[in-house]
């Protein structure tokens, strides 16, 4: 929950409570979340102290999991995701005998937020997994032919699994960034193929000589915004509370050459053209910033 | 079929396999029965009338019947673990449910549920008939009001000869067989189930043969119940 500020002034526009009923800030936010936010947004600031267009602190760590071929942890404010990539051997599809598999999945388990229940993936998890899958396929991040071991017989299947450890909004940006960082960190041992069995050299050192990295054609990264209230003010990098009371979401995915990979605008509110341009512009700026963090 | 007119396991066409059955074998069940029909061994347990598991299923003026089948993985020759909602088992369970619905006087136990659990320990043909007979014993042992026994028997056409109570080998050679469940007193048939091709006039003969078999089974079940009752009476009298 956002840290609590002092008691809100009694005379609050639109809420004609008589002076007798004053609440503590957290109670007021719980009972009337939209009202609570409207007070802040009207003064151009957010409950957690950020400006409307500022982002939460973001950190990226590589190679956090040694049992995975490649891994990364991304933390955007309160949202923490860990992505692990495991390479396994599989038979190629009949119609694409020399192409490997790229299988991204996001897992929003009940550990990361009290809104998720145990059981099969929630709708939100499926939406995020599917959109990441589309970005990887449509913008040809990785040439699947690089994953071929023996045409028609054996190919690499990269199982990309994102585990959300803590959920505080904006899961799509964090998940996509973690997938890209993990793919950059992947290192697979050079396989040898003999009559149906794929062998990889064991031993300690995995250096460039006995293993290979993936060469990523493009690394798309996304920036998300939400439209708040009837005034459709734009909030960047929404946290969980802002997301749950927003009218619509906009996500802009851009790669390192600045080309647009995907735009998705979801939600009831219809918004003007200029707003979309504004989002793309801000996303471009954020993109550079995010890339510098990732390349440290 | 040997020339002497005997079947594979040495029985005459109209002869039943050996049936041994006992009741009240389980400590926690309201009523229970263990029945061996040849090598087919079945354990039946009855819980109820008790509160329904799902409030939605409750019927205000009578009890609902719930039958659950459970097959031991080692019951057949080749080990096979069947999941809880195996289609074949659910189908068998619904057969048994239908054959007992007209017999149990459900109106005496409104808004309640009667559970019949059948546990197959060993399979050697005639599963459905063994389960129905065992369920009858378990229901009576549980003291649930019933208008009549339900006795089941199978009959089939093996190498141009009408036989009753087929074992596993006879069942698996592509014979046509019918299972019927009957109320011995009123001679009514509550269930007739056949899944193979059979000529119409042959059916008439099979049905009469099977009902003959049911009467014999009725005597065996009845004897078990009466012996049990006398045994209890003596214990109480002493």
């Amino acid at each position: 929950m956002s840290s609590s500020t002092t008691t809100t002034p009694a005379a609050v526009n639109g809420l004609a409570t008589s002076p007798a009923f004053t609440f503590s800030a957290s109670t007021f936010q719980k009972l009337h979340p939209t009202e609570f936010f409207r007070n802040f947004v009207s003064q151009g600031v957010r409950p957690d102290g950020r400006l409307l267009s500022s982002f939460r602190p973001t950190t990226v760590h590589y190679g956090v999991i040694t049992t995975a071929n490649g891994s990364a942890m991304v933390r955007i404010g309160g949202t923490t995701v860990v992505c692990g990539v495991k390479a396994e051997v599989a038979e190629p599809k009949l119609d694409s005998p020399d192409q490997g598999y790229l299988v991204p999945n996001v897992d929003l388990s009940p550990i990361c937020s009290n809104t998720f229940r145990p059981g099969p993936p929630s709708e939100q998890a499926q939406v995020v997994s599917e959109s990441i899958n589309r970005v990887l396929k449509e913008s040809k991040v990785l040439d699947l032919k690089d994953l071929c071991i023996e045409e028609g017989k054996a190919v690499w299947a990269l199982w990309i699994d994102v585990v959300c450890v803590s959920y505080d909004g904006n899961i799509y940006d964090a998940a996509l960034a973690s997938v890209m960082a993990a793919l950059k960190n992947v290192r697979i041992r050079k396989p040898t193929y003999e009559e149906g069995v794929v062998k990889v050299p064991g031993g300690e050192a995995a250096d460039d000589e006995n293993s290979f990295k993936l060469n990523l054609a493009r690394t798309p990264l996304s920036t998300s915004f939400v439209l708040f209230d009837t005034s459709l003010t734009l909030l960047t990098d929404p946290n969980f509370a802002e997301e749950s009371i927003s009218q619509g979401q906009i996500s802009v995915t851009i790669d390192e050459q600045g080309q647009l990979c995907a735009i998705s605008k979801v939600g009831a509110a219809s918004s003007s053209q200029t707003l979309l341009k504004q989002c793309v512009e801000r996303a471009r700026k954020r993109n550079e910033e995010l890339r510098s963090i990732m390349n440290q | 079929m040997a020339l002497t007119g005997l079947r594979i396991d040495g029985r005459r066409p109209g002869e039943l396999r050996k049936i041994t059955s006992t009741t009240s074998v389980l400590s926690q069940a309201d009523g229970s029965a263990y029945l061996e029909h040849g090598n087919t061994k079945v354990l039946a347990a009855v819980y109820g009338p008790r509160e329904a598991r799902h409030r939605a299923l409750v019927v205000h003026d009578r009890a609902i019947l719930n039958v659950e089948f459970n097959v031991a993985p080692f019951s057949t020759g080749e080990r096979r673990r069947r999941t809880k909602n195996d289609k074949r088992l659910l189908e068998m369970a619904s057969f048994i449910k239908q054959s007992f619905e007209p017999v149990v006087i459900a109106a005496l136990y409104p808004r309640s549920q009667i559970d019949i659990y059948l546990q197959i320990i060993q399979q050697d043909g005639g599963i459905l008939q063994a389960c129905i007979n065992a369920a009858t014993l378990a229901l009576i042992d549980a003291g649930i009001a019933m208008t009549d026994y339900v006795c089941a028997c199978t009959a089939g056409w093996v190498e141009r000869e009408a036989v009753i109570d087929l074992n596993h080998i006879e069942e698996s050679s592509d014979t046509s067989e019918v299972t019927i469940a009957m109320l011995p007193k009123s001679n009514k048939v509550t269930l007739a189930q056949m899944e193979s091709r059979l000529h119409v006039d042959k059916l008439e003969e099979l049905l009469s043969l099977a009902s003959e078999g049911c009467k014999q089974i009725h005597q065996v079940l009845d004897k078990t119940i009466r012996d049990r009752a006398e045994d209890l009476a003596q214990k109480m009298a002493v």
């Binding site: 929950m1 809420l15 004609a16 008589s18 009923f21 957290s26 109670t27 719980k30 009972l31 | -």
Partner: protein, 188 residues
């Protein structure tokens, strides 16, 4: 960095039963007093008898309704016998997951209990302040709004404007000035 001097963790032995009474945040077991929560150890001395040992809880446990707690809740469903509510705040502390509660028709007010019409007391969407009178059944707590300062504190009128209490059983819509019947809470 210096850790806070007398901070304690659950299970830490604080003293002997003869020396202290076990206060909030502690428990006694086989003549010893142990801490049961993470927090700061405090010894409060009343005038005469034994000083009581308490542990002032550091991170508050998520709020949970218990008997006589004043709760703020939102009406979800209304039927002639009771109004179903979601308990959102307990004694001023919001709870992470809403608890279920019901206000039975006989607990709406203290006077003329049998002549209460529930739809003239609560409507779905109203914010109500109530008091927990019992743990109720497996699903919901039993609440009461009998006291004067309990009842509807915020509601939206049919026309959508917010309602202002003008008497203990009437509220007026700020937009259309229409009077609607509610069991209102007397402003404190």
């Amino acid at each position: 960095m210096a850790l806070v001097a007398d901070a304690v963790v659950p299970g830490q032995r604080l003293g002997h039963v003869q020396e202290f009474n076990a206060g909030v945040g502690t428990y006694s077991r086989q003549d010893f007093i142990y801490a049961s929560v993470v927090g700061l150890k405090k010894i409060t001395i009343e005038n005469n008898e034994l000083p009581t040992m308490t542990v002032e809880r550091e991170n508050t446990q998520s709020a949970m309704p218990d008997i006589d707690a004043i709760v703020t809740c939102k009406v979800v469903r209304v039927n002639p016998r009771f109004a179903a509510v979601n308990i959102m705040v307990v004694d001023g502390k919001p709870c992470t997951d809403d608890f279920q509660g019901i206000i039975r028709v006989q607990d709406v007010r203290a006077t003329e209990k049998d002549k209460v019409k529930i739809y003239n007391s609560f409507r779905p969407g109203d914010i109500v302040r109530a008091q927990v009178i019992s743990l109720g059944d497996a699903r919901s707590y039993y609440l009461s709004t009998a006291a004067n300062e309990l009842g509807v504190i915020f509601g939206t009128s049919v026309a959508g404007g917010s309602l202002v209490p003008i008497s203990w059983q009437e509220m007026q819509c700020t937009k259309t000035k229409v009077i609607e019947l509610r069991k209102c809470a007397k402003p404190m």
